[in-house]
Symmetry: C2
DNA sequence: GGATAAAATGTTAGGTTATAACATAGCCGC
DNA sequence: GCGGCTATGTTATAACCTAACATTTTATCC
C-alpha cells in the first residue's frame, strides 16, 4: 500500500473529483455511475473515470470490489494489512475490516505450496446488522 | 455448498459439456472462451454458457474467479470450507486450497460488527512455485 | 525563465463480459 | 393429457473496460 500523508494533497483535479464522489456515496459505485455523477463537473468519457480510479487505487485511497465491479473510498485508517470487505447483499452497504491473524493465515495457506503472495482479495457477502435485525422481527 | 455424490449424475447436456470443457482446460476459462470451444458441440449464444455456469456453480461443481472474470472446475475434493484460490499472475495457473482456521477467522472478523456471512471470496494473486523458481535462477 | 521530459488529460473507437425479454421444448407428478 | 417446473433457444442490448493517438499540464533541470 503506497499510502502516505501527502497522498491526498497531490491529487489531480480528476482524481479529486472521483475520490470525492466515492466518499460522498454511501455505497460502492460502478465506473459508469461515477461518470453520470461527474458529468456536471465536465467528465465526458469512461476513460476519464477509469484512469482516475487506477491512480487512486495505486495511491491506496480507493479499493476495487471485484465481486461487484465497483469501487469504494478507502476508510481513513492507515493500513498495511489486506482489507476484508463485508458486503450486504440486501442494502448494498460495504464495510472495511482488518485482522492481522487473517492476513497471516493467507500467507500460510499459499506458502505451503511454494506460492509467493502479492495481493489478496477478500470479500464476504452476507447480511449486515441492520438488515438482519429487520428481517428477523 | 450444495454438493453431493449425485451432483454429477444429474447434469443436463449443456451442463456436462461446459463442465467437461473446464475440466480439460489447464487454466480458468472466460465465458466467451468456453463458447468458442463449445461451438463445435452446438453452442451458439453466450447465454447458453452463462446459464450452464450458473447451474454448475449452484451445484458446487464450478467456481467463479471474480478477479479474473473466469471459471474453473472444482477440485474433486468434497469441501465445506470456503476455498482459497492462489492465482499465478505469470503463468495463469490457479490452485484451490482449504484452511479451517482461515475460514473461522473470516467469520470472526465480520461477526464482530453483527454481520452474517453467507459466501466468501478469497483470491490471492502472486507467483506460483514454478514461475518463482525460474525467475530466481 | 526556457528547454525538456514525464505525467495527466481529451477524444474516438472498439473489445469483452453479462443480462433482459420472450418463445419453445422436455420432464414429472397427478 | 394437463399443469407446473426446469432447461433451452434466440435476438437484442446493457454494463464494463481498453487501445490508440493527440493534446495539455506539471515537474525538473540548466
Amino acid at each position: 500500500m503506497k499510502k502516505d500523508n501527502s497522498a491526498k494533497q497531490s491529487l489531480t483535479k480528476n482524481q479529486s473529483l472521483v475520490l470525492q464522489a466515492l466518499a460522498e456515496a454511501d455505497q460502492p459505485l460502478g465506473a459508469y455511475e461515477l461518470l453520470n455523477r461527474l458529468q456536471p463537473s465536465g467528465f465526458k468519457a469512461p476513460l476519464q473515470v477509469y484512469r482516475a480510479l487506477d491512480q487512486l487505487v495505486e495511491k491506496g485511497l480507493v479499493h476495487r470490489l471485484e465481486s461487484l465491479n465497483a469501487w469504494t473510498a478507502c476508510c481513513e485508517d492507515q493500513h498495511s494489512y489486506t482489507p476484508v470487505f463485508a458486503i450486504c447483499d440486501d442494502c448494498g452497504n460495504v464495510t472495511e475490516h482488518f485482522d492481522e491473524q487473517l492476513a497471516g493465515n493467507i500467507e500460510k495457506v499459499t506458502k505451503r505450496s511454494g506460492f509467493t503472495p502479492d495481493r489478496s482479495i477478500i470479500e464476504i457477502h452476507g447480511q449486515c446488522d441492520d438488515c438482519g435485525t429487520i428481517t428477523q422481527s
